[in-house]
Assembly symmetry: C2
DNA sequence: TTACAATCCGGACCGGGGTCCGCTTAACGT
DNA sequence: ACGTTAAGCGGACCCCGGTCCGGATTGTAA
């Protein structure tokens, strides 16, 4: 079972906007673009699909900055209000755009083959997790960056929570005596898209250095011998 | 010599807005409110003072959210454009508000008494640094949070850079073989105001736990024996 | 087929950040 | 005192994210 609720949870009534509610965290798979969302009126589903398609086209043709709520609405021949009802806010829309990749990634570390998936020792999985995250973020950097929620919700946004919980779990296995809750925040900080962008694009660091640093960090934190 | 240039550097001409320029990082001390900025026309200095005072009053009376550029301008009997020319953007204004405390803090770890200042062994100084940061951020949380720059400039904003450089320096002394540049990013992540806010306010963690986690993290990263 | 209720739609509207440019004024040389 | 000029000023203006609500659509039950 994969987490996927951050989209269906977003646009309930509308008068009562969103506020991520509880944590109905476990839902079955389902693509974002192929709009198989449940309980959506025909026209609503159609518009939802149109909107995602329009947004994707915009980001492809003119970059993430061009993904204005108005622009998306216009490109999808739909009212602005519709965009907000469906996706809550800009972050929600961008997040929806990343939903597919997100779920694939979750599947990989929750149920895929080792060392990313279960089967390998936790430290090994941590190393693999970081490498995978770094590469994924590096590829989708523009979108990931644009989808970053404002300083507040940066830690409550569901996708991040899932990743962090996973790291925390691995940490508990590797270093049970530590404060893994907080340690997971620390590790995830190293994988923050904004940081990756800053280091690779603005500082010109090669991605490999980030990967090395991640592995090194994991080793230090878990007290593992620097296996390099 | 303390860093203090992030304010005087912000509002040069105006047609050419800001863009942090090079790094004229070392400038002498000087209070923010007592407007002793150099090369400012009399009226400009006066307005600058008025603006800072108005902003401070607003944040005190109605919270940081009420610090609207328009509101500040109005409260200072000044045009909106003036606020932007002087401080660049909202973040700049809020940063200016924190300037005094910032400089005091810098003075403490650059030239103050050990263990925060020079004299103590680097690991000791790191521990003290984290504790100090946590307490300071916890006190000024609202402002710190409001002053947080958008995802982009989060790592290029001068005040943060100085802190990070300091941590990197201490790290180089403590663990010369590590990638201290990246490690400093990791450590600073643990002291991010947004994270502190999330953990203490939203998750209800006591500040002491954050302090313990910091010390533990420093120990792990530097390979120090968990001296607790 | 018709009627009804729940859901959805769309665009007018609002507030706030940021920009622009014609006018004003402080600073300085004579 | 006066003229010149660069610096400063202010508010109209634009864009965008987000909200609201009267009216249109859909699904359904009779």
């Amino acid at each position: 079972m994969l987490y996927a609720g951050f989209m269906s949870a977003a646009p309930p009534p509308f008068p009562t906007p969103q506020e991520p509610v509880g944590h109905p965290e476990l839902i079955q798979l389902g693509s974002a673009l192929e709009a198989d969302e449940p309980c959506l009126r025909a026209d609503a589903a159609r518009n939802r699909a149109r909107l995602l398609e329009a947004a994707a086209r915009l980001v492809a043709e003119r970059g993430a900055d061009a993904v204005t709520m108005e622009a998306v609405a216009a490109a999808a021949c739909v009212g602005k209000g519709t965009v907000f009802r469906r996706f809550g806010d800009r972050t929600g829309l961008l997040t929806a755009l990343l939903d597919h990749s997100e779920k694939k990634f979750q599947a990989a570390f929750l149920a895929g083959p080792p060392p990313l998936g279960p089967g390998a020792p936790p430290v090994e999985r941590l190393r693999a997790f970081g490498r995978a995250m770094l590469r994924r973020s590096h590829d989708e950097l523009e979108l990931q960056l644009a989808a970053e929620p404002g300083a507040n919700r940066r830690f409550t946004a569901p996708p991040r929570r899932v990743l962090r919980h996973h790291v925390a779990m691995l940490l508990r296995q590797a270093v049970p005596e530590a404060d893994c809750e907080l340690l997971s925040h620390t590790l995830m900080g190293q994988l923050d898209p904004a940081l990756i962008h800053h280091l690779t694009e603005q500082c010109g660091m090669p991605l490999a250095r980030l990967e090395d640093a991640w592995v090194d960090l994991v080793d230090r934190v878990t007290g593992e011998a620097p296996a390099r």
